[in-house]
Symmetry: C2
Subunit: 213 residues, 2 copies
């Protein structure tokens, strides 16, 4: 199926939400659903769901709604999660270790297979079955690791160095937990998660609660 | 200043980005900037920045652009980060501990002042200066803690219980790292961070790289 050039990032994020809702329905043995029922389950509007799905084609059956199994498979294929992804991790401090030990990644097919740090006390060790290398070794050891996605969990000061090492090692998809922007070649996709920003989002709504519906 | 009822969540998220960019400019001693310069610094379009700011009023000076210090203060006030927020944390496993030890929160004014867990080995201990209580004690100890924001970093199975305990303790703003939805009264704002979804966003772009600009 031909896909349009520009899908909004927010639509892509919602596909993940839809896939989880469909996964749940499938596990409960539900065969068909509708945009209205999905909307209620998720807490969105049916129109939003239909608009998001319309970017990728026609999935519903008029008068019957969606076949759960079919729609799940379609969205999983679109998201690229109908396969296993090998992941490299830079930084095994508190956050990095939490990510290394995080079951939620493995459950969705993301496997951390190699890790990097700058601390000589950690380099050479194997944590949770994952060997830790010096960041400087990334360009040489990454290609044979199978990793295609990199996670940066180092302090802000080391983020660009870790990012450069990942890019030199051939990674084109990077999830960064470091505050601040990292510079990459245009063919590299960087997704940033700034944990303090998530709290700021809440502080905004807490501050403006009286003024909102 | 009167504010419209519905500000898009994506606009609120971008305000955090603007505040950081302005913080940086201020530290560098820059006095004025423009939506074009900010856009280049951040990697957005000038039109997007102007549109986001227009929700909250008129901040630019025609022909001069924005005064950095002034715009910083305005956005910080809108976001509610011109003050300190006390934060409660549920779950001091790997992820919870990483959040407890995370400097990025304190730097932006978010202070974890109280923590909860269900593990008897952790209850009663003080980690990073923060005392750990039984989740069941939350309704009684939260009100005197000063916490207004709660962070849920427990496994999916315990998320609703932690959330209920927070709500009973008077919290109205909750950041949840647990996969899946938690049910709250309508006056409670919940922001979810699903770490696997962030990776799925990347797997989407990695999968569809050839089909995108």
């Amino acid at each position: 199926m031909a896909r349009p050039k520009k899908i909004p990032g927010t639509t892509v994020s919602r596909l993940s939400v839809y896939v989880r809702a469909l996964q749940k329905l499938r596990n409960e043995g539900v065969v068909t659903t509708s945009s209205e029922k999905l909307a209620e389950q998720i807490g969105l509007t049916a129109a939003q769901i239909r608009k998001d799905l319309a970017y990728f084609g026609q999935f519903g059956v008029p008068g019957r709604g969606y076949y759960v199994e079919n729609l799940y498979n379609e969205i999983a294929t679109i998201l690229g999660i109908n396969r296993r992804w090998e992941v490299a991790l830079a930084g095994v401090g508190y956050l990095g270790y939490a990510l290394l030990a995080y079951n939620g990644f493995k459950k969705q097919g993301f496997d951390v297979v190699i890790a990097f740090d700058k601390d000589p006390a950690k380099i050479g060790q194997t944590w949770e079955g994952v060997k830790i290398y010096d960041v400087a070794e990334a360009p040489s050891v990454l290609p044979e690791s199978g990793a295609e996605i990199g996670i940066i969990a180092v302090p802000a000061a080391g983020a660009q160095e870790a990012c450069d090492a990942f890019v030199s090692g051939g990674l084109k998809s990077i999830l960064s937990f470091a505050p601040g922007r990292v510079i990459t070649p245009p063919y590299v996709t960087v997704k940033r998660v700034d944990l303090a920003m998530e709290l700021e989002w809440l502080s905004y709504y807490a501050t403006n609660a009286g003024e909102h519906g």
